[in-house]
């Protein structure tokens, strides 16, 4: 029985494998998944198994890709996450500060602290910043 949703789910999981793996096993793996689904195995469990396998395939060192390369890739990923977290943390504290100021007054006050360069504006609520004679007003 052909179930397009199940097929799409498995195909998505198979796309997570490295290209060299897909070239070698991709067609057979898709056919195997179709046979297992036909036998009654849930598509979700097959997709999950392939996802876990894809993670292992990326992390397993192979000839020509020494362990140090894998370690470097993990380090770069960790650093990217760290930088993202570092950028989001000041944004969150800036949002908290602006919220507490807004609660303290009912109108925009001239002379409010200028926005800090490099800080990402708080997400979820549009922030209007008016620049006036060198002073920033945040509403």
């Amino acid at each position: 029985m052909y179930d397009p949703q199940a097929t799409r789910l498995v195909e998505t999981a198979l796309r997570c494998y490295p290209a060299r793996w897909r070239r070698r096993h991709g067609d057979e793996a898709a056919e195997l998944a179709a046979l297992l689904i036909r036998d009654g195995t849930p598509a979700g469990s097959i997709a999950w198994s392939y996802l876990a396998g894809a993670a292992r395939a990326w992390l397993t060192p192979r000839p020509g890709r020494p362990l140090s390369t894998v370690a470097c890739a993990l380090l770069v990923a960790a650093c990217s996450l760290g930088v993202s977290a570092g950028l989001l943390a000041p944004a969150a504290s800036a949002r908290t500060a602006s919220t507490s100021q807004a609660h303290g007054s009912t109108h925009c006050r001239p002379g409010s602290p200028a926005p800090v360069p490099g800080v990402i504006p708080a997400m979820g609520r549009p922030q209007v910043i008016i620049w006036e004679a060198g002073h920033g007003r945040s509403c």
Partner: protein
């Protein structure tokens, strides 16, 4: 871990750390060459274990890297594998080791009267 063999030699139990899936695949291939789906079906019958397809391909790649199995020419989209001579030797060493542990366990249960 080095284990003594029946012939008095010492063999390396390379399968000790490869996981249950790899051992089951080798046992299945010891009965003749098979492709992925046939392996999953055979292992389900043989050991009542349902191997996930991701686990299967991971184990096949690992066993091939270790030289314990080898791929045969593809049949349509299917890639059959067969056990190699080193693979058969490694499986023998591992099964001998399991037999000794199993016998020791049974003996201790018997002596302990449990």
């Amino acid at each position: 871990m080095a284990v003594s063999r029946r012939d008095g030699g010492v063999g390396q139990d390379v399968l000790r750390r490869v996981g249950e899936a790899s051992v089951l695949i080798l046992i299945s291939l010891a009965g003749g060459h098979k492709h992925g789906y046939a392996l999953i079906q055979d292992i389900k019958e043989l050991a009542d274990v349902e191997l996930g397809p991701g686990t299967l391909y991971g184990a096949l790649d690992r066993l091939e890297r270790l030289g314990l199995i080898e791929p045969l020419p593809a049949e349509d989209r299917r890639h059959p594998y067969r056990i190699t001579a080193p693979g058969a030797a490694a499986l023998r060493v591992h099964l001998d080791s399991l037999e000794r542990v199993s016998a020791a366990g049974r003996l201790r249960l018997q002596l302990g009267g449990i």
